[in-house]
């Protein structure tokens, strides 16, 4: 698959061979629901489009598809689109993430109990 000669990119999966379909299901965590909500809200406010979301997702490449979860890829794409559209700068993000990570070791602590 690394040496595709058919002109298709990695995400264009239709028709490839693959293993059995795993029907394990998880309930979405709060942080995942928040990522989903940020996508809907920010695209609704015109900061980016679903095409922008997908462009960043597809440019992450196949390794990200295998190594990151669905909403991990989404927050990475949302963040990239928001920086591109000028919602905040990459410096502001860096400062904020360091501040968040210093708050505690769990999601609840880092999210200030929210």
């Amino acid at each position: 698959m690394d040496n595709r000669t058919d002109g298709r990119r990695w995400h264009d999966m239709g028709g490839q061979d693959a293993g059995p379909i795993c029907d394990d299901q998880h309930d979405f965590s709060l942080w995942e629901k928040r990522v989903d909500a940020l996508m809907i809200l920010c695209s609704g406010k015109g900061y980016f489009t679903v095409d922008g979301l997908r462009r960043a997702l597809e440019d992450m490449g196949e390794d990200a598809f295998e190594s990151m979860s669905y909403y991990e890829r989404w927050i990475a794409s949302i963040n990239q689109n928001l920086i591109e559209s000028g919602a905040y700068t990459i410096e502001e993000l860096g400062v904020k993430m360091a501040e968040v990570q210093a708050r505690g070791e769990t999601y609840g602590d880092a999210s200030l109990g929210q």
Binding site: H11, D12, M13, G14, G15, Q16, D17, A18, G19, P20, I21, C22, D23, D24, Q25, H26, D27, F28, S29, W31, E32, K33, R34, D36, A37, L38, I40, L41, C42, K45, Y47, V50, D51, R54, M68, S69, Y70, Y71, E72, I75, A76, I78, N79, L82, A87, Y88, L93, K96, M97, E99, V100, Q101, G104, E105, T106, Y107, D109, A110, S111, Q114
Partner: protein, 213 residues
């Protein structure tokens, strides 16, 4: 349920993701940072985010099932649904958003199944968020190539002369399957009919349940 596992199951009986049991991840810290920056810059508010989550939580297969049951009992509604899925769903008070909703009717000789080979497009406003398998490489890759085998893995074994139509979603439209109304359901009310309509039957990886099953 074993006591020592109790805390790891959600009210629906599904396990929570490991994320909730492990230390803060890099991507979780990004979500918190992005959310706080957006609030600080007055782009959104915490209330708006939580309202959006509530809206999403309120959407599930029951909405799609109500549409299917209406189509089963009301031929005029069914023809409107097949002509313009978005408008017909809107009649029932279900806003499917800016996407075009296309309803696909299963018949005695045709079975429809929906996939999104490129990503994860799904009629979320009618069915809720997609199941994990819908977004998996295996489902996305194989459904367009060997739908009969995929269906059999979901326990759906169709006669060889049933035509299977595979529908690949795009970013601008969504599909929902109208499963065949099961035999023996003639006397059921619309409300009871809706209970026979499963999520998978509206994706095409399942059939409607039989009455009294």
């Amino acid at each position: 349920m074993p006591h020592d596992h109790h805390d790891h199951l959600s009210p629906s009986g599904h396990p929570y993701r490991q994320d909730d049991d492990t230390p803060l991840s890099y991507w979780q810290s990004m979500e918190i940072a992005v959310r706080e920056l957006l609030v600080e810059k007055n782009i959104t508010t915490l209330e708006e985010i939580s309202t959006q989550i509530d809206k999403m939580d309120a959407r599930g297969p029951a909405l799609g099932a109500a549409v299917v049951a209406r189509a089963w009992v009301d031929p005029a509604f069914k023809s409107r649904l097949l002509k313009d899925g978005s408008a017909a769903s809107g009649e029932m008070g279900f806003d499917v958003g800016p996407m075009h909703l296309i309803a696909l009717e299963n018949t005695a000789d045709t079975h429809n199944i929906v996939v999104c080979t490129l990503c994860s497009c799904y009629p979320r406003n009618l069915l809720g968020l997609p199941p994990d398998w819908y977004k998996s490489r295996a489902y996305r890759s194989r459904t367009v190539k060997e739908p009969r085998k995929v269906l059999s893995e979901f326990g759906v074994n169709l006669p060889n002369d049933t035509q299977i139509r595979v529908h690949d979603s795009t970013a601008d439209m969504r599909y929902v399957v109208i499963p065949a109304r099961p035999s023996g359901s003639e006397d059921l009310s619309e409300e009871d009919l809706a209970k026979l309509v499963t999520r998978d039957s509206m994706i095409g990886t399942g059939l409607a349940m039989m009455p009294n099953a």
